[in-house]
C-alpha cells in the first residue's frame, strides 16, 4: 500500500511538472473549459483541485455548472466549443448524452476529457479519468465479509444514483464481493439519489424492520449525517469496538468522512484520490490539445482505504483529512 501511494504521489508530482512545462510553452493561448454536472461539496473540492492544476499550468479556466440539467450541459459545452477553448473537461450529468457532446467537440478539434463520471461509451471521449467505483465497492464488500466473520449479518445498502455510473457500480461490485458470503443478507437497498434526507429515512425504516441490523453501506460521505442522526436516536451511535456498534463503510474521503473515522464512528472509509484525478484530467487535456494522444485512454483510480486504526498514518494521503 505504502509503495503504491508513494508511486501515485511521485506520478502526480511528475505530471504536475509536465503540466507546468507544457503550460509555459503555450501560456498565451490556453483556456480550459470546465463543465460540471452539479455543485455539491465533493464537486466544490474537485473544482478547487482543477483550478489549482490549471493555474499550475498557467492556463485560464472557464467554468460552467449544469445544475443536473443535461440540456443545459449540452448548451454549455456548445458554447465552450464556440468560444474556441483549448480543451474541455466535463463531469457528465447524462452519461449517454455525454457521448454526443464529446464527438461534437472532438469533431471541432477540441479535446474532450471526462472526469469522475464515465460516459457510457469511453471511446467517444479523448480521455477519461475517475475513481474506480467497482474497486471501491469490492473493498467495501470484502470488509463486510471480514467483519461478519461467518456469522449472520444483516446489511443495509444505501444506494446513490440509480442512473449514475458511480452509484450503479459501487452497488453492483459490493454485491459481487458479497456473493459468496451467504451469512450476509442485504435486508434493504434504498435508492437515495445522493440525498442525505433519503439516507436518513431509509436508515430509519430499515432499523424499524431490522433492529438487529449489523452493517450499513453508505457509499458517499454526505449520507453519514443522516445515518448518525438515526443511530443516535436509537442509542446505536457508539464508537468502533463497542459491542452495540453498527459497522459502517463509506466512500469519498471528504473532511466529514475523515472526521467520522477520527471519531471512530465509521469502520472503513475509501477515499477517492481526488487531487490525483483532477491533475490527470488537466494533463491529458493539455497534452491532447498539443497533439499527444492520451495513454492509457481511460483510467480508473481505486480509492484509498483507511480506518480508525491507521487514520494517523494515512491522513496525509487522504484529501479530506488535509482540507
Amino acid at each position: 500500500m505504502q509503495k503504491r501511494i508513494f508511486g501515485l504521489s511521485l506520478a502526480a508530482g511528475l505530471m504536475l511538472t509536465a503540466v507546468v512545462a507544457i503550460g509555459l510553452a503555450n501560456a498565451d493561448e490556453m483556456t480550459i473549459g470546465v463543465a460540471f454536472d452539479k455543485i455539491e461539496p465533493f464537486r466544490v473540492a474537485e473544482k478547487k483541485a482543477l483550478t489549482d492544476a490549471i493555474a499550475g499550468a498557467h492556463a485560464k479556466m472557464v467554468f460552467a455548472n449544469a445544475d443536473k440539467d443535461p440540456q443545459r450541459q449540452a448548451s454549455q459545452v456548445d458554447s465552450l466549443v464556440s468560444q474556441g477553448v483549448t480543451a474541455i473537461i466535463v463531469i457528465p450529468w447524462d452519461i449517454e448524452a455525454a457521448n454526443d457532446l464529446a464527438r461534437s467537440a472532438i469533431a471541432s478539434g477540441i479535446p474532450f476529457v471526462s472526469l469522475d463520471q464515465a460516459p457510457s461509451d469511453l471511446q467517444s471521449v479523448t480521455y477519461h479519468v475517475g475513481g474506480d467505483p467497482c474497486a471501491d465497492g469490492k473493498v467495501a464488500g470484502e470488509f463486510f465479509v471480514k467483519e461478519a466473520a461467518g456469522k449472520p449479518f444483516k446489511l443495509l445498502e444505501l444506494q446513490g444514483g440509480l442512473a449514475n455510473d458511480n452509484g450503479i457500480r459501487r452497488s453492483k461490485c459490493l454485491d459481487e464481493a458479497l456473493k459468496a458470503a451467504l451469512n450476509i443478507t442485504i435486508v434493504a437497498r434504498v435508492p437515495t439519489d445522493w440525498n442525505p434526507q433519503k439516507a436518513l429515512e431509509g436508515t430509519e425504516n430499515a432499523m424499524q424492520a431490522h433492529p438487529d441490523l449489523a452493517g450499513i453501506y453508505a457509499p458517499w460521505n454526505d449520507a453519514l449525517q443522516g445515518v448518525f442522526s438515526v443511530l443516535k436516536e436509537k442509542g446505536r451511535l457508539v464508537p468502533v469496538g463497542v459491542p452495540t456498534h453498527i459497522v459502517i463503510v463509506s466512500i469519498d474521503g471528504t473532511p466529514l468522512g475523515c472526521k467520522a473515522v477520527r471519531e471512530r464512528l465509521i469502520d472503513l472509509e475509501i477515499a477517492t484520490p481526488l487531487p490525483e484525478m483532477c491533475y490527470r484530467a488537466v494533463v491529458a487535456a493539455i497534452k491532447a490539445a498539443g497533439g499527444t494522444k492520451a495513454e492509457p485512454h481511460a483510467e480508473f483510480l481505486p480509492g484509498i482505504p483507511y480506518g480508525p486504526g491507521d487514520v494517523k498514518e494515512m491522513a496525509s494521503k487522504v484529501w479530506g483529512c488535509n482540507s
Binding site: E40, Q197, N205, K259
Partner: protein, 333 residues
C-alpha cells in the same frame, strides 16, 4: 357547480383516497409484520411531516389558481440565510452551532420570499408557473452562494424542533397536524379563505365582486413560503445538516400530494384533509418498500402505480357521484 356539490365531490375523493391508503397499508402489513407496528406508524407520520406542511401551504396557492415551484428553493435559501446569520462555525469540528434565532429568521425569510413571488406575479403580470420557475433558480442560486455549496453540519437549537418527542411522537407530527388543521379552518371558515377559493374558481367574477385579488395572492404565496421554510427546518433538524440539495424536488412531492388529495390544479376546489392523506400515502409507500426489502428499481414503478390507482379511484368515485346529479340527468335527457 354549487358549493354543496363541490364539497360532496371532495368527500367522494377523500373516501377513495382513504380506501387506497388502507389498501396500501394492508398490502404492506401482509408483507412485513413491522409495517403496522405503532413504532412504524409514528415513523411514517414523522417522515410525512415536512411534506404535509409544505403541501398545506401549496394547497392554498393552488386553491387560488396559482402554483409555487419555488417552495423547495425557499426552504433551501431560508435555512441557508438563517444558518449564516445565526450560526457560528467551528473550524476544528466543522460544525456550525446555531442559536434560537434560527427559527424566526428562517420563518420570516420564507414568508418574505413567498411574498416576493406574489409581488412578482402581481406587478409583472406573469403566470405563476413562469414567475416561480424563475424565482426557483434565483433562490436556489442564492442559497448555493451563501453556503458555498458546502455540506454544513449543524448543532444547537436547530436540532430541537426536528428531534423533540411529545407522547412518543415527534414534535414535527403535531406541528404538521396543527398547520393542516389551521389550513382546513382557514379555507372552510375564514372569509379570506373562502375568498381565496372564489378567486381560484373564477378570478374575473371574484374581482368584479370587489375581492382584492392582489392581497389574496400575497397571502397565499407568503403562507406557502412560510410552510416551505418550516418544512426545511424540520428536515435540517432531523438530518443535522444543511446540504446543497435541501428542498430539491420538494415542489414535485408537495404538488403531487396536493393534487392527489383532491385540490384542483385550476383553482376553486381544495381539500387540506385530502392533502394530509395523500402525504401519508406517498410516505407510506416509500416506508413499506424499504420494510419489505423491495428492489430499488421498483420504487418509482410502485409509486407511479399507486398514484395511478389513486387517480383512477378518484375518477370512478367522481363519475359515480355525478352520474346521479340532476344536472347530468338533465344534460343526458
Amino acid at each position: 357547480m354549487t358549493t354543496r356539490r363541490r364539497l360532496s365531490r371532495t368527500g367522494a375523493q377523500l373516501w377513495s383516497l382513504t380506501a387506497v391508503l388502507l389498501l396500501v397499508g394492508i398490502g404492506f402489513a401482509s408483507l412485513s409484520d413491522r409495517f403496522a407496528d405503532l413504532d412504524n406508524l409514528r415513523n411514517v407520520l414523522l417522515q410525512a411531516a415536512p411534506t404535509m406542511i409544505g403541501a398545506t401551504g401549496m394547497t392554498l396557492v393552488l386553491a387560488a389558481r396559482g402554483i409555487d415551484l419555488s417552495i423547495g428553493a425557499i426552504a433551501n435559501l431560508s435555512l441557508a440565510l438563517a444558518i449564516a446569520l445565526s450560526g457560528t462555525r467551528s473550524e476544528a469540528t466543522l460544525v456550525t452551532d446555531t442559536t434560537w434565532l434560527v427559527y424566526p429568521i428562517a420563518l420570516l425569510s420564507g414568508l418574505l420570499f413567498g411574498a416576493l413571488n406574489a409581488a412578482a406575479i402581481n406587478i409583472l403580470r406573469l403566470t405563476p408557473l413562469i414567475t416561480t420557475l424563475g424565482t426557483l433558480a434565483v433562490y436556489r442560486g442564492l442559497g448555493l452562494h451563501i453556503t458555498g455549496a458546502a455540506l454544513i453540519p449543524v448543532s444547537g437549537p436547530i436540532l430541537s424542533f426536528g428531534r423533540a418527542q411529545v407522547f412518543d411522537f415527534g414534535l414535527p407530527v403535531f406541528a404538521a397536524l396543527m398547520i393542516a388543521a389551521m389550513g382546513w379552518l382557514f379555507l372552510a371558515q375564514v372569509p379570506l379563505g373562502r375568498q381565496l377559493l372564489a378567486l381560484g374558481g373564477s378570478p374575473r367574477s371574484a374581482i368584479e365582486t370587489g375581492l382584492r385579488a392582489e392581497r389574496l395572492i400575497v397571502l397565499a404565496y407568503a403562507i406557502s413560503g412560510l410552510c416551505g421554510a418550516a418544512a426545511g427546518l424540520i428536515t435540517v433538524g432531523r438530518v443535522g445538516v444543511v446540504n446543497p440539495d435541501l428542498g430539491d424536488g420538494m415542489e414535485f412531492t408537495v404538488i403531487t400530494a396536493v393534487v392527489l388529495g383532491g385540490t384542483s390544479l385550476f383553482g376553486g376546489r381544495a381539500s387540506v384533509l385530502g392533502t394530509v392523506l395523500a402525504s401519508l400515502l406517498l410516505t407510506a409507500v416509500d416506508n413499506g418498500m424499504t420494510l419489505t426489502g423491495a428492489n430499488p428499481y421498483a420504487y418509482d414503478v410502485v409509486r407511479g402505480f399507486v398514484l395511478l390507482v389513486a387517480v383512477s379511484a378518484d375518477a370512478v368515485s367522481t363519475y359515480m357521484h355525478t352520474r346521479g346529479s340532476p344536472l347530468i340527468r338533465e344534460l343526458r335527457a
